[in-house]
């Protein structure tokens, strides 16, 4: 007969994701976005972006490039590194987004703990406007030329091969508003015979309806390929990541029906896409 605590844990494993999915609001990557599937990743940039610490220890260095909706004036370039010792995880990075007159530079930090069954972390990003006109408000006041945000992320091995996560990257913010409001995202993934299925739910603030995402990844020793879809409006994406020795490279494209394609490229040392 199955022990009672196993039954309770199984119940929690079902109820917690449902509750989190119901409460979720949007969180879309910005400054340290990487070509990875959603959820906890080995990438340093992904750790800074979401606050979800990687499961594995060790160190890694990665660089990423994103062109948003095919707009040359909207490109993000980022470098990040991470280190881990026992259960502790830390990461730091620098990024720059957009042309001078509308873009910003950002530094990011993340720290957390992780075990094979779960992890939690804090992340912080500080931004500074790239263009500061002499005599302007931005020149005279710090809060008019810089902004900061602090958030958290956590993941849990809720059951065998089932992992859930939640991230609120902007639990606190000050100064210049971030480029995108990112209150909360929840998600879960399930592994089965080399395939990983995931679901995410996020929604914007302000009472709008939720966004949903879904995808499937095919994993092998050195390769991950995935396809994904999001709604509002319906769009799809594909990604491919490969690693050899301590190097990895990844690329992902998401196609928006109105705005065009967003392309992400990542390459790194010491880590992997997942």
């Amino acid at each position: 007969m199955r022990p009672a605590w196993i039954t309770r844990m199984a119940g929690l494993a079902v109820l917690v994701p449902i509750a989190l999915l119901a409460l979720a609001v949007r969180a879309v990557s910005q400054d340290f976005t990487c070509a990875t599937p959603p959820g906890p990743a080995a990438s340093a940039g992904a750790f800074i972006e979401s606050g979800l610490p990687p499961r594995g220890a060790g160190s890694a260095l990665d660089a990423s490039y994103t062109r948003w909706f095919g707009l040359p004036e909207l490109e993000t370039r980022a470098v990040a590194c991470r280190a881990g010792w026992r259960q502790a995880r830390v990461a730091a990075g620098f990024s720059q987004t957009g042309e001078t007159d509308l873009g910003w530079s950002a530094i990011g930090l993340a720290c957390g703990v992780a075990r094979p069954t779960g992890g939690a972390g804090l992340r912080a990003v500080a931004r500074r406007e790239r263009a500061i006109e002499p005599g302007s408000a931005a020149a005279s006041r710090l809060e008019a030329r810089a902004g900061a945000e602090v958030g958290w992320g956590a993941w849990l091995e809720a059951a065998r091969r089932l992992r859930l996560w939640a991230a609120a990257p902007q639990s606190w913010s000050a100064g210049v508003a971030p480029p995108l409001d990112r209150p909360l995202e929840v998600g879960g993934e399930f592994e089965c015979d080399g395939l990983t299925f995931w679901l995410t739910r996020s929604a914007p603030s302000g009472g709008a309806e939720a966004d949903h995402g879904a995808g499937v990844a095919l994993r092998s020793e050195a390769l991950i390929a995935w396809v994904s879809a999001r709604d509002r409006p319906l769009r799809g994406g594909v990604g491919l990541a490969g690693s050899a020795r301590r190097f990895f490279v990844a690329a992902a494209v998401e196609s928006h029906p109105e705005l065009g394609e967003t392309v992400r490229l990542s390459l790194g040392l010491g880590g992997a896409a997942r």
Binding site: F69, P179, P233, L259
Partner: protein, 602 residues
């Protein structure tokens, strides 16, 4: 018609021996009050005819027969025509015409012609009294009138008649009275039955036919072209109804087909058979080119007396100002004066054109329109009028000098207010126009708000612009550019300056600035490959979700710009999506751009 000569309306009751001899029937006639009586209607006469001695049947009384009696007293000349309102100063032009329908001469001796002031009861004043030698020949006419009346009246008198509602009456020596009232009279004594119409200046009140006596002034008299000493109604007379000519479109393109419509009326007493009359149209220009024949066609319909028929003929005109003349020709026409009418028209653009229309001013400067002299000679703006769809024409005044070729001027509702609001304007080229045609601000069911119409002082069309107010931001004038009327590129307009011309863009769309404050405004400029397009603008956040549509689809010229507001969009980074398609159908042009909205974290 019943002729008034049979019955005396002055009598209350008359017993008439119907026949000359004893064999004739006896007729009893009872007459209710008529002219001068209390009621506005004509008198009613009950006639009872009984067989006389020697009659064929038994002496049983017949049933009474009610008939309508006339307004004209028996055995006296009729008032056949009166002119009380000549064009301009009436002095010397007014006249009254007596007509004798009988076959023997009738005297006017002792007849008193009195004018009645309809503003109060009993206000009759003597104008003329017939002398012993005055008489009207059998079937003849006798005119009493001013010295300017042609042909010269038999009795020259300055009648000094008032414009309606007023009246005229003749009091005969035997006590008979004939009253002719015109206009909406309040007191019954000033008319016989319903009064005649109050006619326009230059027209007379004429008895048509000349011996009509139907029981009321309204039935007997009509507006007519003055004809002192002549019959009011010819036996044969076709007329082109004055003012009925219309050219559609009013100002056609040179060589384009336009339609000329109008109406013909048979004012004669006899029928005009189908095909008997011919319609002839010519165009004459101000240049020495002479008359140009337009069309000649037979009138295909038969016209009974009083009938009218419309005509509608196509024509084409070369560029310029023309006087169209339409004449109806019928053999034996006895009245040539009404055979033709004319219309001033223009084919192609006029010398003055509209370049800007401010129909909804927001800064208290009043409405105004900007005009340009597109001719090669200076123009005096006082020789033009401006009007709206309603037609009230304002005449420019207050500016200085002639408008040089290619120069701009402003016609303003309130010149002082406009100069006060825009002090940099050259006051010499700002004219007031009064009365100002108030321009509507919102469209009606026709899809247009109003029209601005320029004419020369003689009424010749110069330009007509019907405009739509849909999609025009409040306070922004319309300006002519890129072959159409569009909201002005400069929201304040460019009075006395040409429209702001945009330089070619490197892209199809440009949004500027790319960085604006929360709730701020930006400009969307476009440069499209089509003369007319429909444009919209949407705003997406970095998650790819549409958050706003600052510009709903609107019609636009090939090049232009439009101010838009980010509205309630939160601070952040956005993607603008501008779309355009050619007016009608065609491929979309879509361009995206980045936009940063500044603001503090919430």
């Amino acid at each position: 018609m019943l002729h008034g000569g049979v019955l005396s309306l002055a009598a209350a009751a008359v017993l008439v021996a119907g026949g000359a001899g004893p064999a004739g029937p006896t007729i009893a006639v009872a007459i209710a009050p008529g002219v001068g009586g209390a009621g506005p209607a004509g008198p009613t006469i009950a006639v009872v005819i009984a067989p006389g001695v020697g009659g064929a049947g038994p002496a049983t009384p017949a049933a009474p027969i009610a008939v309508a009696a006339g307004c004209a007293p028996a055995q006296h000349p009729l008032i056949a025509e009166l002119l009380y309102d000549a064009v301009g100063d009436d002095t010397g032009w007014e006249f009254i015409e007596f007509y004798n329908p009988f076959d023997r001469a009738l005297p006017l001796a002792g007849a008193r012609l009195e004018a009645g002031d309809g503003s109060g009861p009993g206000r009759w004043t003597l104008r003329w009294t017939g002398n012993a030698v005055d008489s009207v020949a059998a079937g003849g006419r006798f005119v009493v009138g001013g010295a300017k009346v042609q042909p010269a009246p038999r009795a020259v008198v300055n009648l000094d008649l008032q414009n309606g509602p007023d009246a005229l009456r003749v009091v005969w020596p035997d006590g008979a009275v004939e009253v002719v009232g015109y206009g909406a009279l309040e007191f019954a004594e000033y008319s016989c039955g319903a009064p005649a119409v109050d006619v326009a200046s230059g027209q007379s009140v004429a008895r048509i036919p000349d011996d009509a006596d139907l029981g009321s002034n309204a039935a007997d008299f009509r507006a007519a072209t003055p004809s002192p000493g002549r019959a009011n109604q010819s036996q044969r007379d076709l007329a082109v109804l004055a003012g009925s000519l219309v050219l559609t479109p009013e100002q056609p393109d040179p060589g384009a087909v336009a339609r000329l419509t109008g109406r013909i009326e048979n004012r004669g007493a006899t029928i005009v058979a189908a095909g008997e009359a011919t319609l002839v149209a010519t165009a004459s220009a101000a240049s020495p080119a002479g008359d140009v024949p337009l069309f000649a066609c037979a009138v295909g319909a038969a016209l009974a007396p009083g009938d009218t028929v419309a005509f509608d003929e196509p024509l084409g005109l070369e560029a310029g100002k023309w006087r169209l003349r339409v004449a109806v020709v019928v053999p034996g026409d006895e009245s040539r004066a009404n055979d033709a009418d004319s219309l001033l028209v223009r084919a192609g653009p006029g010398p003055l054109e509209l370049t800007e229309i401010q129909f909804h001013p927001a800064a208290g400067e009043g409405e105004w329109v900007e005009v340009r002299n597109r001719s090669v000679a200076p123009l005096d703006l006082a020789g033009f009028t401006v009007s709206d769809r309603g037609g009230a024409r304002g005449t420019p005044a207050g500016g200085e000098g002639a408008l040089e070729p290619e120069s701009l001027a402003v016609l303003a509702q309130d010149r002082a207010a406009l100069l006060g609001a825009l002090s940099a304007l050259d006051a010499r080229r700002v004219w007031s126009a009064g009365p100002w045609p108030s321009l509507n601000n919102s469209n009606d069911s026709t899809g247009f708000a109003d029209a601005v119409v320029l004419r020369e002082a003689d009424g010749t069309p110069c330009q007509r612009v019907a405009y739509s107010a849909a999609g025009v931001p409040a306070g922004v004038p319309l300006e002519w550019r890129d072959g159409g009327w569009w909201p002005a590129s400069d929201p304040a307009g460019t009075p006395l300056r040409p429209p702001h011309t945009r330089e070619r863009l490197a892209r199809r769309f440009e949004c500027a600035p790319r960085r604006l404050r929360e709730g701020g405004a930006a400009t969307l400029a476009w440069d499209l490959p089509w003369p007319r397009a429909r444009i919209s603008l949407e705003l997406y956040d970095m998650a790819g979700r549409r958050v706003a549509r600052p510009l709903e689809e609107f019609p636009a010229p090939a090049r232009g710009e439009r101010l838009w507001s980010a509205g309630a969009a939160a601070p952040g980074l956005y993607v603008t999506l501008a779309r355009a398609r050619p007016d009608g159908s065609g491929e979309w042009i879509v361009e995206r751009g980045a936009l940063r909205i500044e603001g503090s974290a919430r």
